[in-house]
Structures are given as structure tokens and as C-alpha cells.
Amino acid sequence: MVPLSYYLVLSAVLFACGVTGFLIKRNIITIFMSIELMLNAVNLTFVAFAAELRALSGNVFVFFVMVVAAAEAAVGLAIIISVFRTRETLNVDRVNLLKL
């Protein structure tokens, strides 16, 4: 049987990987994927606590997080396409003006 703390540590490590990728990556798509990784880490915490405390609400919450993440991915990728169309680049260091 697996103690809860193992799941929490795994979740923390995944979240740290997501934060690191968000900060050090320069490609806008990879940065976006790091955000998805962080959301997944949080979901793992939700499910682990739901199983520990025998509370099904945790699973329902994960469902809502996934819906919001999917909506966010759709809108975010549309924004990325729009940015690429006007700037011709995906490097966030080159996107430094609010208005062209």
C-alpha cells in the first residue's frame, strides 16, 4: 500500500518541473505545456487526498479542473496562432511589444 506522502512528493516534484519549464523555456508552446504539467500535478494532489479522506468531491473537482484546462488550451493555442501570424516567431524574447 502506498502512503499519501509519496503521492504528495511526486506531485510536488512534477509541479517543480512545471515551474522550472515555465521559467527557463523560451518557446511559447513549451511554456504552455509547462502550465499543463503544473495543472496535472495539482490534479494528482486532489485525487490523492480524495482517496485518503474518502471524499468523492475531490474527483469531481478534478473533472472541473480538466474542463477549465481544456478550455484554456483551446483559447491559449488560438492566441499562439494569432501571435505567430503577426510576429512570425514563437520566441517569447522576441515578443516584447504590445502593439506592432
Binding site: 502506498v2 499519501l4 512528493v9 512534477l14 527557463i24 523560451r26 473533472f63 474542463v67
Partner: protein
Amino acid sequence: MHLVLFLIFGAVCVGAAINLLVQKHPINSALSLIVVMGSLAVLYLLLGAEFVAAVQVIVYAGAVMVLFVFVIMLLNAGEEEVLPHSSRVAIVLGVPGLILGLAVGIWVVARYAGFDRIAIGGPRVLSGSEGFGNPSSVAKLLFRDYLLPFEVTSVLVLIAILGAVVLARREE
């Protein structure tokens, strides 16, 4: 058995997440992320959350990642270039960020090593009890107690669809 499966898929998960950071090409990062999500689905099954595991595979590893790979190929994203003036601040902050995250993880171990004792209802270990997170029990909760949030979610998705279409549309 559970512990062995947890260790295997936890290691796969962390390895793929680190691979996501190391890879230079976004398509490699995307494929690593699919591995992370797939192994997370196995961990959800270990925790007895069958519904969440199924949704994880269908929505995350399926729909969302297909969208990512599609956009990467549509925009023909290549290896990421490091500009000479690219911000060192990001590197300077990123490494402490990782260390801070790991420190928090270790703190959680130290703090919650005795979590089983302070948890409600005495000592307990995670067991994949059958019928805990299966679709029917989740559905009962979702469509009874959480009916209003569920309906609001549909509005959110509708707005997201409209927003995506408007944003990605080519301007005349």
C-alpha cells in the same frame, strides 16, 4: 503490488517531465508530456479514481495533446533559439524555483510522515478500493450536488469555443 506500480509509473512520470525540460524541440516536449499524462492516468487508477483516469486519457492525453501537436506542426515550430540578449533572469530564477519546489517536497515528507496519525479517522493507507471513484458514484455526485457548477461549465466551454474561433480567424 500497489507500491511497485506506484514506483514504476512515478519514475516514468518524473523522467518524462524532466525530459520535457531537457528537450529543445517542442514536438519532443509534447510527446514527453503525453507520457506524463498516461502514467498519471495509471496512478489515478491505483488511487481508485476510475472515472478521472478515463477522462485523463480521453481529454488530456487525447484531445488536448492532439491540439498541441497540431499547432506545433501547423506553425512549423523548430528548435528553440537562444538569443544573445535573452533574459538571464529566467535562468537565475528557474534554478532556485526548482530547488524551492524540491525543498517544499521534502518539507511535505517531513511534515506528513506522520500524516496517517493526524488524519481524520486514525491510521489509513491508500488502497484502490473498488467502486470508490467509479463513473456511477461520481455521476451521482456530479449531477446532484454539483449540477449548477456543471451547467456553468458548459457555458464556459461554449465561450471558449467562440473565443478560439474568433482569435484564430484570419483577419480580412
